[in-house]
């Protein structure tokens, strides 16, 4: 048995986050269908499950220190810096979103455990996705993650917008998955390989000149499938509707986790699998980045719904991150920093939204945040911090991430791209400062209603806001981490 296990690279630690989440889900399922249990017990079970998951990620660091970059389960699961970074990010998203997720789910009455199960399952899928070495494994992880998210978007069944969001997300998302799996098939047709490393070896073996056309089309389709998940234009059309329609408490989780997993996979593909033919995709990526920045900036400036505004701003931010990932090693490290900083701000913004509007509501008009600074000074100031961070004003992490990203792009002599991205920050100031104006400056006619929030929410938002400022003042640690992620490819 042990010899076989050794031969196939059986190792429980490497999939321990996924296993933990699945076990938590099974326990929750058991309690839901057999024994009558109170919500408090289920809350503790969930929280404990997430904590153990976070611990398992630490275990994987131990394994990495011991074995270095290594693959397990007959080259299905990979342990490298990218997967560790992705694991940390996903565990962090799960941990930070626990409060909004739980509060939203507890409002769903009968369906509370259903929602929690969906969320934990989607996280387990995305854990697999960032760990995948094999393209099929990648697809399975992506699907486990995404299908749960489709259902999550429509969980508030009494709300029309929520239903619309779910259906739209499902139809467009499964189309993107189709495109992705077709791309995987085409890659397999060309070289009969499924592993990311083997693919790179095969490409190196044939040389870049005689790469078959099917490979290009296959890789292109894989990218299209992944770009859909990060809502880069022209594949962004689902994002505003889904963000708007889904229960507000879930959007922070849904938006951040799919982005993190897909960006990690895209950067690993660019670094590991196709560095020899990456040049051929430069035009494609350039068009995607350009469209993302233009479409995102334009539509974000004209939105009246805040969730849609953040969705379109997310399109712009995806363009920024993508521009680093597709440029080279230093660009990728800058993008990893950007991703980390952006995720913190995104979760912060959506946590605030869900506190203001009630967890389940779908619409979030600009007027909802009117007089926020009067109703709750703490929320008002934190909201300003997150918005300033997204806009990239100095002294926040947003500025540092934009600065190092643009510096690296300039060093790669992508002057045109830099000027487009710089101009988009000017437009960004326009649409990010507008919500701040409404939240803090606009005169309110109605009497002030104090907005009471829980201590745990104070703690969550306070720590997110202070991290946003901290990474702006002392970015050194995070920059070193982001450089560690790509150290092997320097």
């Amino acid at each position: 048995m042990s010899q076989i296990a050794e031969a196939i690279g059986f190792n429980l630690i490497v999939i321990s986050p996924t296993v933990t989440l699945v076990i938590t889900v099974l326990i929750l399922l058991f309690f839901t269908i057999s024994v009558e249990t109170s919500l408090t017990v289920k809350k503790w079970i969930t929280f404990l499950g997430i904590l153990v998951t976070v611990f398992c990620v630490f275990l994987k660091f131990g394994l990495f220190l011991q074995n270095g970059i290594s693959s397990y389960f007959t080259q299905k699961i990979l342990l490298d810096e990218f997967s560790l970074f992705g694991n940390v990010l996903i565990a962090m998203i799960l941990f930070l979103n626990f409060l909004p997720i739980w509060d939203t789910s507890s409002k769903l009455n009968e369906k509370t455990s259903e929602a929690i199960i969906l969320i934990l399952m989607s996280a387990s899928g995305f854990f697999l996705m960032v760990d995948a070495e094999n393209l099929i494994m990648l697809f399975i992880g992506l699907e486990i993650g995404s299908i749960s998210l489709y259902a999550l978007a429509g969980l508030n069944r009494s709300d029309k917008l929520s239903n619309e969001a779910s259906l739209k997300y499902f139809l467009l998302g499964s189309l993107a998955s189709c495109v992705l799996i077709y791309g995987v098939a085409l890659v397999y047709v060309s070289y009969s390989v499924m592993s990311l490393y083997d693919f790179a070896l095969a490409l190196a073996y044939t040389g870049p000149d005689i790469v078959p056309l099917t490979t290009f089309v296959g890789v292109l389709f894989i990218f299209v499938g992944l770009l859909f998940k990060i809502a880069a234009a022209p594949f962004q059309s689902w994002a505003p509707d889904v963000y708007q329609g889904s229960p507000t408490g879930y959007v922070g989780y849904m938006a951040s986790i799919a982005k993190v997993a897909s960006f990690i996979v895209i950067s690993r593909m660019c670094m590991v699998s196709i560095p020899f033919i990456l040049e051929d995709f430069q035009t494609f990526f350039f068009v995607v980045i350009l469209l993302s920045v233009l479409i995102g900036s334009f539509f974000a400036s004209v939105q009246s719904d805040l969730k849609r505004l953040i969705a379109y701003s997310g399109v712009v931010q995806s363009g920024f991150i993508l521009s680093g990932i597709t440029s080279g090693v230093n660009g990728t490290s800058a993008s990893m920093f950007y991703l980390f900083a952006y995720i913190l701000q995104l979760i912060g913004v959506f946590t605030i939204f869900s506190i203001i509007s009630g967890k389940l509501s779908s619409n979030f008009e600009m007027d909802n945040i009117k007089g926020l600074i009067k109703n709750n000074r703490f929320l008002g100031i934190s909201f300003c911090v997150f918005m300033f961070g997204l806009a990239g004003i100095p002294l926040t992490s947003g500025f540092v991430s934009k600065f190092i990203l643009l510096t690296n792009l300039w060093a790669y002599e992508k002057y045109f791209l830099v000027s487009i991205l710089l101009l988009s920050t000017v437009v960004g100031f326009y649409f990010y400062l507008r919500p701040i104006w409404i939240a803090t400056i606009e005169k309110v006619d109605e009497p002030v209603e104090t907005l009471l929030i829980k201590k745990s929410e104070y703690l969550l938002i306070g720590s997110l806001a202070s991290l946003t400022i901290l990474f702006g003042l002392l970015p050194d640690t995070l920059i070193n981490i982001s450089r560690w992620v790509v150290q092997n490819y320097l």
Partner: protein, 496 residues
């Protein structure tokens, strides 16, 4: 000494947080406490002035490693010019808080925004590398956004957004220039050294120098502002609250000119020589245009705003001429304009609080009901026009004298700006203060009270002092100006 220079930036931030944390029910404490707290930075200025030889060019005080992986440090330093501007900033903040009316002095948000503004402007003047310069340059937008947005006039939304977008549009050019310089210094030395010391030894080609000069100077010129990039200024001035206007005219406009003197000219001199005529032309157009438009204004605050464009045109003419005398004049004019226009905006604020109008035609014969106010206004107007014996004369005379050898025609035209200044200031004075009392409401307007006289008096004393003894502030800028002048002179020498 290290801690002292830091505290010019950190102390206002601490003050601002302190004010912000006082509970609202102790509102009567806000004003006295803020006055006391803003006396501390000014006291520090005095201490530094007494204990330190400040008649030096720029020297680094302290470094702070920011991104070690890229080798980027945040550096603060000090020089005579920086010290003068920091002192001016601290003084104007103190005086504008002294002069506050009842509405604003009870709002802690207003007071702490002012303190934050003070911190970030001090940061710009003390920055020792391009990154910290940029960080503070853009950070001052945050307090300004809230100052104008919350406490501004009727049309404040338009003015604020315009101000922010203009500045951000300029600052992306500065950011691009910073990144370009960083990459160039990385290619030559192996790390992103952006501090002023290593920039002065950075070897760049002539075409790179021109591009970089354009990038930096464009960003700074929007902030000066130079014609035709000036259109945000009148809007911003009219809508900003009085304290915001005082600081906007007093120190924020100097940020742009300071950036050109500190960064654009010494490091990218070849670009400067290429484009100095263009800048000089635009400055002279700005001088005449600002003055002519000021003549026809019906709003006294807008008149002073346009006069600022004209005066800052003089500063830019002096800088672009690149002569020793004209550069020195430009720096002195920067300080003088800060003092004079700060005083003018404060005076207009006093009048607005009494009558809630700024239209010149709503006044007339005010001298009868407000003799002290009229006297002070006339004195300040004379300083603004440039009457010999007052501060305005010193700077403008040096600029015109110094720039004549380089640009004979342009500086001759610019001299008319002084005449036009006399027209718009004195005509406005005549319509507002001389003659019979034409409006009933003006009969019972109270004259300045002691609080208001105290808050404007230091500026009046400075006007007279600098006018009579200009070599006092000149001695502080000599070293800074010689560094800039030498870099210009050397480059001309090489190209010849």
């Amino acid at each position: 000494m290290i801690g002292l220079t830091y505290s010019f930036i950190l102390l206002p931030i601490v003050n601002s947080l302190f004010i912000f944390l006082i509970p609202k029910r102790r509102a009567e404490l806000f004003r006295p406490l803020t006055i006391f707290l803003s006396l501390i930075p000014l006291g520090l200025c005095l201490y530094v002035f007494l204990n330190q030889n400040l008649k030096t060019s720029f020297y680094v005080v302290d470094k702070f490693s920011w991104i070690s992986a890229y080798g980027i440090d945040l550096i603060i330093g000090l020089s005579g010019m920086s010290f003068l501007l920091v002192t001016l900033n601290c003084l104007l903040v103190l005086l504008s808080i002294l002069s506050l009316n009842e509405n604003h002095s009870f709002s802690k948000g207003f007071l702490s925004s002012l303190m934050l503004l003070q911190a970030s402007v001090n940061g710009v003047f003390l920055a020792g590398d391009l990154i910290s310069l940029f960080i503070f340059f853009e950070a001052l937008l945050i307090p300004m956004y809230f100052l104008m947005g919350i406490w501004g006039g009727e049309n404040r939304r338009y003015a604020t957004i315009k101000f922010i977008l203009y500045t951000v549009f300029g600052s992306i050019f500065i950011l691009a220039g910073t990144i370009y310089t960083g990459v160039l210094s990385y290619l030559s030395s192996g790390n992103f050294a952006l501090d002023f010391d290593s920039l002065s030894s950075l070897s760049i080609t002539s075409s790179q120098s021109k591009i970089l000069f354009l990038l930096f100077t464009f960003g700074f010129l929007i902030k000066v502002p130079i014609f035709p990039l000036h259109t945000w200024l009148p809007d911003a001035h009219v809508e900003a609250p009085t304290a915001g206007s005082i600081l906007l005219a007093g120190v924020l406009l100097k940020v742009g000119a300071y950036g050109i003197l500190r960064v654009s000219i010494p490091f990218f001199t070849e670009g400067f020589i290429e484009y100095q005529f263009l800048i000089a032309t635009l400055s002279v157009v700005g001088i005449i245009y600002g003055a002519v438009v000021a003549i026809v204004q019906i709003d006294i605050k807008k008149l002073i705003a346009y006069s600022s464009i004209s005066h800052m045109g003089f500063v830019m003419l002096g800088i672009s001429a690149g002569r020793y005398l004209s550069l020195e004049g430009a720096v002195i004019q920067m300080i003088n304009h800060g003092i004079t226009s700060g005083a003018l905006f404060m005076l207009v604020g006093f009048l607005y609080e009494r009558r809630h109008t700024r239209r010149i035609s709503d006044f007339g014969g005010l001298k009868k009901s407000m003799p002290i106010y009229a006297g002070i206004f006339l004195f300040t107007s004379f300083a603004s026009i440039g009457l010999p014996g007052l501060n305005g004369f010193v700077g403008e005379f040096m600029i015109l004298m110094g720039s004549f050898p380089t640009f004979n025609v342009l500086s001759s035209i610019a001299a008319f700006g002084v005449v036009l200044a006399a027209i718009y200031m004195l005509w406005a004075y005549q319509r507002m203060f001389n003659g019979e009392l034409t409006h009933e409401e003006n009969k019972n307007v109270l004259d300045l009270n002691s609080k208001e006289i105290v808050s404007v008096a230091p500026l009046l004393i400075l006007m007279l002092f600098i006018g009579l003894y200009p070599s006092f502030i000149e001695s502080y800028v000599v070293q800074d100006v010689s560094v800039i002048y030498e870099s210009i002179n050397n480059t001309i020498g090489i190209s010849k």
